[in-house]
């Protein structure tokens, strides 16, 4: 998309920190989240889930449940579409989503849905689940990525592999990625030191505080309404329609306020089930997941097993790098192995680089996106090896990264050349930061890491309607998962020249705008922001036209300045500035409502880099770690609302601290998840976290009118590695497996002591 009118300085509203528009609603309880909606005659849904990691479903007898007083409907796989298809580009995935939403011939993981009930109360619905008689034939299972690839591993689904997979691999390997350039063997031969090591990371959950919840209403006429907590309600509309055999436009979906998503709410789980129950019972049906269900049956990230080899000269020049990345994404294709591979070495300008990725199926829940899917794990492995190389060669870790850093024109490890990027600027800011120049205390270790993410644009539609009193309302289609309503209002204020407080931004339903892609890929401030700017410009053009009509001069003789139409020059005539509110006051009589629109697929998202600095302490007796200082330095392109940008930086670091130190899916020998709750799955508490300092670097993205780059995901790319480098330094032993929980640290210390 050609950008003909960019603006990167002299902002009046952009870059300020006004109050968030949803703050009062959220602290007073007025905000309506997924579980807050009700409807007359509403039923409550509950879902029966497999207790087995892998089992053939021989029969399901629902007769006793159906006979229970208060039960109005029971559904199984037979109540969904037999041929879910829609649009090009997603062949196969609707089937996978359906198979995950409701099991077919086999239960593929502990927690896999096999039937559902709608009843007049939540209690009756849960009681009815106990009356459903499922006969299983329990099968062998596998939950570890390396074991799932090994000879003799149980096959999750025969024939699931695509054509990319080399011959001879286990059927559980379903996709293969291989990329790079140069000659890595020649590069390793040039190195003064070559290090090679293996790393593992466990699956972690996105850990959003709001469980999945929805209220669905679907009649036998094929018309329906759905209210749900989601990152993408057009996707929910499209997918539910496909899974239930509906016309897409007959299902209107409204996104609730959302209590966190982080990628985990980019798909559907309970929504098609609520609609299927509603269609059968002819009543609205509400389903709210328990926390245990969220852990057992919604997407965690992939777990990984990785091998990294890097060669370096004594001066810090990296001569070659290679990596093998094995990801298990549960019982379905889709683990982001190609992104793990492509992101792994992206921060560095390498002549010789080679990366391989494997997407592996196992008996775990279907993985879902989690902030920069696949990238944080790659950084953990790669940046750990770089750290060891720096230590062995006696080199400063930031100097080495600067020496090898990618910059504009670098041929990326994944192929194309970079445009304007800000990695060097983040490294220079980190090196100059007081944190990096403050000596460590006794027993502390410091870690550095860089991180990379692609960012995304996607289909976007925005409408901006002016009111008679001179205020404005923006309708966007991207659920607000990170403060986007404030950012949209700031960008519209900049274009319209009216105060931020006079603009309200609303997340519209699927009947109001054209298709909007999910809020994912750090795309919202970039793409919806670009569309908001363009919609505001469209409205401004219409305002100028009204002024021209009033003044009796040509349209191109009017321009917009500080919220007013003004003559564009001395020859245009002598007219007083005409404020926006003066034009809108009687717009009904001068041509009708004034509304600006923009619909497009912006394609200039611009990639993003970050550098993190972490100080950690380790109790050598108990293995307990403490993060004592943390600084995030990241390129935001242009920070529209800096407080939200800082919040994204801090949130990525906080989630990274959990991922690095404590969070993990723990499976028993029986393939059942052992820690499906926040008591046993430990996310960081406020008391676990230091103040996370932030530095916003601004290297303008040429693909956005104000230079914006997405910031929501890159912030979680460096933490695993930066924390591992800090903890390893403090412990005096290299930690190569996440999480670095106390038992694992104690074991590593003991192993080091035992030699």
């Amino acid at each position: 998309m050609a950008l003909d009118d960019t603006k990167t300085k002299d902002f009046k509203f952009v870059g300020t920190r006004p109050e968030r528009p949803d703050g009062v609603d959220k602290v007073t309880g007025r905000a309506k989240f997924g579980a807050d909606m009700t409807a007359p005659g509403m039923l409550h849904g509950a879902i029966l889930r497999s207790p087995h990691a892998h089992a053939r479903i021989l029969s399901i007898d629902t007769s006793k449940a159906e006979a229970l007083k208060g039960v109005k409907a029971v559904v199984t796989r037979a109540d969904f579409s037999t041929n879910p298809t829609f649009g090009p580009g997603l062949t196969g995935e609707p089937w996978n989503v359906l198979e995950n939403v409701m099991a077919g011939e086999k239960a593929l993981y502990d927690g896999h849905a096999v039937a559902a009930v709608a009843a007049t109360s939540a209690l009756i619905a849960r009681d009815a689940l106990k009356l459903i008689d499922v006969t299983y034939e329990v099968l062998d299972h596998v939950t570890d990525v390396d074991k799932a690839m090994a000879e003799g591993a149980p096959v999750i689904r025969e024939g699931a592999a695509d054509k990319s997979v080399p011959a001879g691999m286990h059927p559980n390997v379903v996709r293969y990625h291989d990329s790079g350039h140069g000659d890595v063997e020649a590069g390793f031969a040039e190195a003064d030191l070559v290090l090679e090591n293996s790393f593992k990371t466990e699956a972690t959950h996105q850990g959003y505080i709001e469980p999945h919840a929805c209220l669905g209403s679907l009649g036998n006429d094929g018309k329906g309404e759905l209210w749900c907590t989601t990152q993408g309600h057009w996707y929910a509309q499209k997918m539910c329609a496909a899974l239930l055999g509906l016309e897409t436009s007959q299902l209107r979906v409204t996104a609730s306020e959302i209590g966190g998503g982080f990628g985990g709410k980019t798909t559907v789980f309970i929504e098609p089930v609520a609609l299927a129950l509603s269609r059968k019972a002819n009543k609205p049906v509400k389903i709210v997941m328990s926390r245990s269900e969220v852990f057992r049956a919604t997407g965690p990230t992939a777990s990984t097993s990785m091998d990294i080899k890097i060669g370096m000269k004594k001066d810090g020049t990296i001569t070659a790098a290679s990596g093998v990345f094995r990801l298990q994404g549960g019982a379905f294709p889709g683990a982001p192995c190609e992104f793990t591979a492509m992101c792994a070495f992206a921060p560095y300008a390498l002549e010789n680089v080679h990366q391989i990725g494997y997407d592996v199926m196992s008996n775990r829940p279907k993985q879902a996106a989690y902030r920069a899917p696949g990238s944080p794990m790659a950084a953990f492995a790669v940046e750990s090896v770089i750290d060891d190389l720096c230590k062995e060669l006696g080199l400063d870790p930031i100097d080495v990264r600067l020496k090898n850093a990618s910059h504009k024109g670098t041929k990326a490890s994944f192929g194309p050349r970079f445009d304007d990027i800000g990695l060097v600027e983040t490294l220079e800011a980190a090196k100059a930061h007081e944190h990096y120049n403050t000596p460590l205390k006794e027993g502390q270790g410091r870690g550095i890491s860089c991180g990379f993410w692609f960012n995304h644009g996607g289909e976007t539609a925005v409408s901006l309607a002016l009111s008679e009193d001179g205020t404005a309302q923006i309708s966007v289609g991207t659920p607000d998962i990170g403060g986007s309503r404030a950012s949209m209002a700031l960008m519209a204020a900049e274009e319209l020249g009216i105060p931020y407080e006079h603009i309200r931004c609303t997340v519209a339903d699927t009947a109001t705008l054209g298709y909007n892609e999910i809020s994912h890929g750090s795309r919202v401030t970039y793409a919806s922001g670009l569309a908001t700017i363009k919609a505001a410009k469209d409205a401004v053009n219409k305002l100028c036209k009204r002024a021209a009509q009033k003044w009796g001069i040509p349209e191109d003789a009017v321009k917009w300045e500080d919220g007013c139409a003004v003559p564009s020059g001395a020859n245009a005539g002598d007219f007083d500035p005409l404020p926006l509110a003066k034009i809108t006051a009687n717009m009904g009589a001068t041509g009708g409502p004034i509304v600006g629109h923009f619909e497009a697929t912006p394609e200039g998202a611009g990639v993003s880099f970050a550098t993190h600095i972490v100080d950690a302490e380790v109790d050598h007796e108990t293995g307990k770690t403490k993060i004592v200082r943390y600084t995030v330095v990241q390129d935001a392109g242009k920070a529209i609302h800096p407080t939200y940008v800082e919040g994204q930086f801090q949130g990525g670091a906080a989630q990274g601290i959990g991922w690095a130190l404590n969070e993990e899916y723990i499976y028993g020998d029986d393939g059942r998840l052992q820690n499906a709750g926040f008591l046993d799955y430990r996310i960081p508490l406020a008391s676990d976290l230091p103040m996370i300092d932030t530095v916003i670097v601004e290297v303008a993205n040429p693909g956005h009118p104000y230079g914006v780059r997405g910031v929501g995901e890159t912030s979680i790319c460096p933490p695993l590695a930066a924390i591992a480098n800090a903890v390893s330094a403090a412990a005096g032993v290299r930690m190569r497996e996440l999480p670095m929980s106390p038992p694992r640290i104690v074991a590593a210390l003991k192993a080091a002591q035992d030699g």
């Binding site: 492509m342 899917p373 445009d419 795309r523 394609e603 693909g703």
Partner: protein
């Protein structure tokens, strides 16, 4: 003709080549041309690809222009969080 670099998982579908040439003036031309020359690519392309044109990753827009001088890489389509 424009030169299109492929990720190596696709090479078995194009007689082992790591780059192929197609007649194209837009991203859409490239994708149509690839499928016409190498029908085996239809599946991966329909499953979702991005096209990097001179470093800019085009995820959707088939109208993006390309020239014989463009540096073009076929990439797997992004799924973000």
């Amino acid at each position: 003709m424009v030169k299109v670099h492929l990720w190596s998982g696709l090479r078995s579908l194009v007689d082992g080549q790591d780059a192929v040439e197609v007649q194209a003036s837009t991203v859409g031309d490239i994708l149509r041309g690839l499928v016409k020359l190498y029908p085996g690519l239809e599946g991966p392309i329909e499953a979702g690809v991005s096209v990097a044109v001179d470093g800019k990753i085009i995820a959707n827009d088939l109208t993006t222009p390309v020239t014989t001088e463009s540096e073009i890489y076929l990439m797997q389509k992004l799924r973000g969080g």
